[in-house]
């Protein structure tokens, strides 16, 4: 089975079950809302990939001059353009691309051995997922934890320190934080590897099925590989996750402070409800509603950050792939990668909306 398909199943099946559960359990209006929301996802993705398609075509330069240089003869140039279908009218190319997307056969890349894009993405997408998922966990986890803690300790030294932390971390360029962390933990302390996803030697022992190395090493019971994968993962994921956590710390803090002053919190205390439950089940849960909204908005920033992080840590994911292929003017690869990104953002925002409507009983669909 194709790794891309497996990856899709790994995430798609649980998500599908969750959605199905919400769908079946929800009210009639919730079901209609979810269906509408899914239907809206399609035009969203279509608009995005169309924009990318046309922007690519108006960019100066093409694949021939970027790979062969200006010395290529006009005849070679014509031959290559013809072979890649780049001499067809734009509208033909556009519909061919839409056809590629619909049939899930994204065509072949323009450069190198002209491998199928799905194969290239099959290697790159899992790497990116293995970066952004732990990063998102770090961002959200530390954001909620620190934010709540700062709110409870409002105006105490911990609160001031955490607020300072969130400002600094938020305004820190990913490049810079990545290099800094690497300098400290890889160069000075020598705790973590400098770059890459896995040791070269260990890599040869690992049997690949999903290309999610974390999953593969568990599936094959290769604990040495698992250890290597985790050691490689920690710095890039921390870099990306911490930069994103700044927003969540501030947002959680301010919302928990607000909800802690709500009447229902006072009323809960007057009923003798334990302070821990008041904080987490009353204040934090209510404060989560605006935070969830922002998660949807942060996904785009997460992907943009992934591109930078991959570059710093030499992480062979979609971000680096995208940069390489943009400079090579490999239109097929770029537009396909963006299509995958677009689908990803659309699915996350769908998930956020569904979570939101489940979390808050007051939501009107």
């Amino acid at each position: 089975m194709h790794p891309l398909l497996i990856v899709f199943l790994v995430f798609g099946i649980p998500a599908g079950f969750a959605l199905g559960w919400v769908f079946l359990r929800g009210s009639e209006s919730l079901r209609r809302y979810i269906l509408t929301r899914i239907a809206l996802t399609l035009p969203m993705v279509l608009i995005l990939i169309s924009v990318v398609f046309f922007v690519l075509r108006v960019m100066p330069g093409d694949v021939v001059s970027s790979t062969l240089g200006p010395k290529a003869s006009e005849e070679t140039r014509q031959n290559i353009m013809e072979a890649l279908g780049l001499d067809d009218p734009l509208i033909v190319q556009y519909f061919r691309f839409l056809g590629d997307v619909v049939t899930l056969d994204l065509g072949d890349s323009f450069i190198g051995a002209r491998r199928p894009i799905v194969d290239e993405l099959g290697e790159r997408l899992p790497a990116t997922l293995e970066l952004i998922i732990p990063a998102a966990i770090i961002a959200l986890g530390s954001g909620l934890l620190f934010g709540t803690y700062a709110a409870i300790r409002r105006k105490k030294p911990v609160d001031y320190s955490l607020r300072l932390y969130s400002v600094i971390i938020y305004s820190m360029p990913i490049f810079w934080l990545g290099l800094l962390l690497r300098l400290v933990f890889s160069v000075w302390l020598d705790w973590t590897p400098i770059a890459g996803r896995i040791d070269v030697v260990t890599n040869t022992t690992l049997e690949r099925t999903t290309n999610l190395l974390f999953v593969d090493s568990i599936l094959s019971g290769n604990w040495a590989a698992l250890k290597s994968v985790l050691r490689h993962m920690i710095l890039p994921a921390a870099t990306l996750g911490l930069v994103l956590s700044g927003v969540f710390v501030r947002l959680t803090r301010i919302n928990v402070i607000e909800t802690l002053q709500e009447d229902y919190v006072l009323a809960a205390r007057a009923r003798g409800i334990r302070e821990r439950i008041v904080t987490y089940s009353y204040a934090l849960k209510n404060a989560m509603i605006p935070v969830v909204t922002v998660i949807g908005l942060q996904v785009a920033i997460l992907l943009a950050g992934a591109v930078l992080t991959e570059t710093v840590f030499n992480w062979p994911g979609m971000g680096r792939y995208l940069i390489e292929r943009i400079s090579a003017r490999d239109f097929q690869a770029v537009q396909s990668t963006v299509a995958v990104f677009a689908l990803f953002v659309a699915l996350i925002s769908l998930a956020v909306d569904v979570i939101y409507s489940v979390l808050d009983p007051r939501v009107k669909y």
């Binding site: 809960a268 007057a270 009983p361």
Partner: protein
Amino acid sequence: MTEGSLYGERITLGEPPLKAGEILYSLRDVSVEYGTRAGPVAAVDHVSLDIRKGEILGLVGESGCGKSTLGKAMLRMISRPGRITTGELWFDGVDLVTLSERRMREIRGARLGMVFQDPMTSLNPLSRIVDHLTETIMTHEPSVSEAAARDRAAQLIGRLGLREERIDDYPHQFSGGMRQRIMIALALALQADLVIADEPTTALDVIVEAQFLDLLRELRDEFDLTIVLITHNIGVVAEVADRVAVMYAGRMAELASVNELFLDTKHPYGQGLLRAVPNIELDGTELYQMAGAPPNLLHTPSGCAFHPRCPAVMPICSQHQPEFLQREGDHYTACWLYQDHPVKPGVHDA
């Protein structure tokens, strides 16, 4: 209501059950201060008050006079920047001020309940009604099963005039009056002895208010409740209270049975309050408007805090604070008109 049926074992702090009319809760010389940038605000100023088993005690006064603060202090729920600075809170043979936070928490909700002004914001919007009730029950009675707690919740909701199926609904699906009933249900979930209701009907319309007040009276009889009803509406007090405490500038001005108070008001502030109530029988006469503005508790006026607005002010009033003294029978007041003092002219001559 027999013990052990709906409510299981009662936790008592040692005292035998009180009979109606005995003192259930006693505030002794209680003061609460809020530290503000401009200085300390004396929101409750040396208040002493006995609350009797089975009564509905109305607590009235202009807004800002410290009623809510006093109510919260009774549950020891004053939070920063506020602080109980003096006094004792005697309940069930214990001074609550001396209890640990943990023991205090066990009493809140189980023995002392509170209902707040705004029913629209007093319930967690993300939790169903049943969750509020079962959570409260199971916090105080950990041995009760979820199913049993749910049964009890449904029964209570039914008793308060809501359909039992509705316990699975969320707060936003109820009207203000219904939510205030739910708040009462929460206070009754463990059969609290004393419920402090802080302006519970202010946010309700007149008809719902009347129904709610009737319900309070019924519940008092049925559940053996004692109720402190905080309000700025003296009409509400006239309707349901047995006794009335009038507060002014964080201090007790007058305390009497409803009849006493309405027929023979002692304190000029109380007299003013009553004259300011719209009265259908007095149609044609102008509604009385009390002179002056409510006091600023940052700088409570010297002597009797009411003296700048008092129509019967005497020289002594701005110099010395009158004591809160028993006047006749059950009627207490803090006013120099009824008290003697060495520097007060006229009293000795008369």
